[in-house]
């Protein structure tokens, strides 16, 4: 049996997906990237192999993606995360026409065509506003875990307006709001709103096409997804493991690469 590996080395997490020849996911893994991308790639691969219960030698081809894609020496090919997220999202939800990926250090909106081909894209990669890093900083300031943010914001009956779009200034604003005794859940909801507004302006640039699929770690935050659905006026597909969408796309390309070679 042949297997195909996709590795996505992102700013915060490094993810692996192993597919079999029927394009079924047989193993995956999500680990922290840390300070060494190559080591993170090795670690995530080992974990995915354990889950798939296969030897490394059975991997026929590998495609790497993400910012650290050049740090995966065992990958035969490197492809950008934009192409991989589009392909992965299309595989999971074939009606996908738009992908919103909010990752650790950037956010992207991708228009997707037939077969998961990228038609157009836009990226916010110049500052941390509208990214997972923004929420990470704010969660630390509010002394709540990242996992708690979503549920807490859904409990808010009101929201506080965050006027700064810059992460550094927004952090100062949060300090002031805490000092004014605003409830934490209302501040969190305001923070989520500011992310959604940021994403909305990117969506407006490209326009929505078909169904929307969200990928990246922030897609696990139900508060952000809920506000985004409200803004888009349509439901959003979110996979149970939205962080592996890019790695999945890379694994699909690895399979295609092997098929082309034969």
């Amino acid at each position: 049996m042949k297997y195909f590996l996709g590795i996505d080395v992102g700013a915060l997490s490094t993810n692996a997906v192993i597919l079999d020849v029927r394009r079924e996911i047989v193993g995956y893994s999500i680990v922290q990237t840390g300070a060494n991308s190559t080591e993170a790639a090795e670690e995530t691969l080992e974990k995915a192999l354990v889950m798939a219960n296969i030897d490394r030698a059975k991997i026929t081809s590998t495609v790497a993606t993400g910012y650290g894609r050049i740090s995966v020496p065992f990958a035969e090919k490197k492809v950008t995360e934009i192409s991989c997220h589009a392909l992965g999202a299309y595989y999971l939800y074939p009606d996908t026409g738009t992908v919103i990926d909010i990752g650790g250090q950037d956010s992207k909106v991708i228009r997707v065509g037939d077969g998961g081909k990228v038609l157009d894209f836009t990226m916010n990669d110049k500052c941390a506003a509208g990214t997972g890093r923004f929420l990470e900083v704010m969660a630390a300031k509010l002394r709540v875990s990242l996992d708690e943010l979503g549920d807490l914001s859904l409990q808010a009956s009101q929201e506080v307006q965050i006027s700064s779009v810059c992460t550094v200034f927004a952090e100062s604003e949060v300090v002031s709001l805490v000092a004014q005794n605003h409830p934490t859940e209302e501040i969190i909801r305001g923070l989520h709103r500011s992310i959604v507004n940021r994403i909305w302006s990117m969506v407006k640039m490209l326009g929505i096409r078909g169904a929307v699929t969200m990928s990246g770690g922030v897609a696990k935050n139900r508060g952000v997804v809920s506000l985004l659905e409200e803004r888009l006026e349509q439901p959003i597909h979110v996979h149970t493991e939205p962080q592996i969408v890019g790695a999945l796309g890379a694994a699909l390309l690895a399979l295609r690469l092997a098929q082309t070679a034969t």
């Binding site: 910012y67 492809v79 950008t80 995360e81 934009i82 192409s83 950037d106 081909k117 990228v118 038609l119 157009d120 894209f121 990226m123 990669d125 110049k126």
Partner: protein
């Protein structure tokens, strides 16, 4: 060939030429050549900005910032004057800072060209501007020799003719040169005398004829191809810049030849025949038509808008240009960055993703 600084120094010391620092973008270089001046264009000096920030707001582009820094670091001491064409508000304000506030003890000249929509009076105005500039220059440099001007106008047309040949071959995929090599050679015209630039272009033309690499072709639009790492990245990806809509390249260099006998008339005719440009206030529809023609001629798969951050004249047009091109099925990529900045991983990812999209 000697490096820029060495070359300029030699032209002054050995050939007795006057040196003028020229700010972007359109100016009658032939007049300067005819008056024994070597125009040295100031686009993107490789400097760390230390002093200029005190004089400029944070939202001023790096062309202006680096140009001012060049003066403030004392690197223009050897120049005999400055010329400020009225390109945009920021360059206009720079001319004020340099001539009115810094107390720079060098002659500063200003050149105003008409903006579109053009009327009959626009030609008269341009002609007056040319002659007015000559009159001001003559006070510093002595009288203009009309036969020299005629010779230099012809030489300028010859430079444009060879450049056009190079661009035509590039469009047809018959120029072997990489993106980086092509623009390295074209940009040497920013400081070389036509006596040296013309042979260089001819030599390059003869050496570089051949099949271009087989990857997708794109058009690059914007101000100038800097940082040059973008050119290297495109070369590595196998993407050929088949044509450009760059302010400091095709927009002002591909001047259609004039048949006018009078050199002032010839310069005027050429100015009004230049491709559409933001610095001339050309309409968006003219620019769309020009870009679409370039896409069609070169069979390009997309247009990369490569913007200098905060360049208002360019950025104002971009939403409409990209919108119109997308409507016609032409892929577009917008990148804005500071000059001389290293290519970040994020920026490289955008370019690579665009390449994957059009491949």
């Amino acid at each position: 060939m000697a490096k820029r600084e060495e070359y300029i120094d030699k032209e002054k010391k050995e050939k007795g030429k006057k040196l003028f620092g020229i700010f972007p973008a359109q100016y009658p270089r032939e007049i300067l050549w005819a008056m024994n001046v070597l125009p040295v264009e100031i686009w993107d000096p490789p400097l760390e900005v230390i002093h200029a920030n005190a004089h400029l707001q944070p939202y001023i582009c790096s062309v202006v910032r680096l140009g001012l820094e060049l003066i403030l670091q004392g690197k223009c001491e050897g120049l005999d004057g400055f010329l400020f064409p009225h390109t945009c508000d920021s360059i206009q304000n720079l001319s004020s800072i340099v001539s009115d506030y810094l107390g720079v003890k060098k002659p500063c000249y200003f050149f105003y060209h008409p903006k579109s929509p053009y009327q009959d009076s626009s030609r008269v105005y341009y002609l007056e501007q040319l002659k007015g500039l000559v009159a001001r220059l003559e006070k510093q440099l002595g009288p203009l020799d009309s036969s020299q001007l005629k010779h230099r106008v012809q030489q300028g047309q010859e430079v444009a003719r060879v450049l056009k040949q190079l661009y035509d071959l590039r469009v047809q995929g018959e120029l072997e040169a990489s993106n980086a090599d092509f623009y390295r050679v074209v940009r040497r015209g920013e400081y070389l005398s036509p006596d040296d630039f013309l042979p260089l272009l001819e030599e390059f033309l003869a050496a570089a004829k051949g099949s271009a690499q087989g990857g997708p072709a794109v058009i690059m639009s914007g101000v100038l191809p800097n940082p040059k790492e973008i050119l290297t990245l495109l070369d590595e990806l196998g993407v050929r810049i088949a044509h450009d809509d760059l302010l400091n390249c095709s927009r002002r260099l591909l001047v259609p030849p004039s048949r006018a006998d009078d050199p002032f008339e010839a310069l005027t005719e050429s100015y009004f025949a230049m491709p559409p440009c933001t610095t001339k206030d050309s309409s968006v529809s003219e620019r769309v038509d020009d870009l679409l023609a370039k896409v069609e001629q070169s069979n390009a798969k997309g247009v990369i808008f490569y913007m200098v951050k905060f360049c208002e004249p360019e950025l104002f047009d971009v939403p409409q240009l990209t919108g119109e091109l997308r409507k016609r099925g032409v892929a577009t990529l917008l990148i804005d960055c500071e000059l001389n900045q290293n290519l970040s991983g994020q920026l490289a990812t955008r370019v690579e993703a665009f390449f994957e999209m059009i491949s």
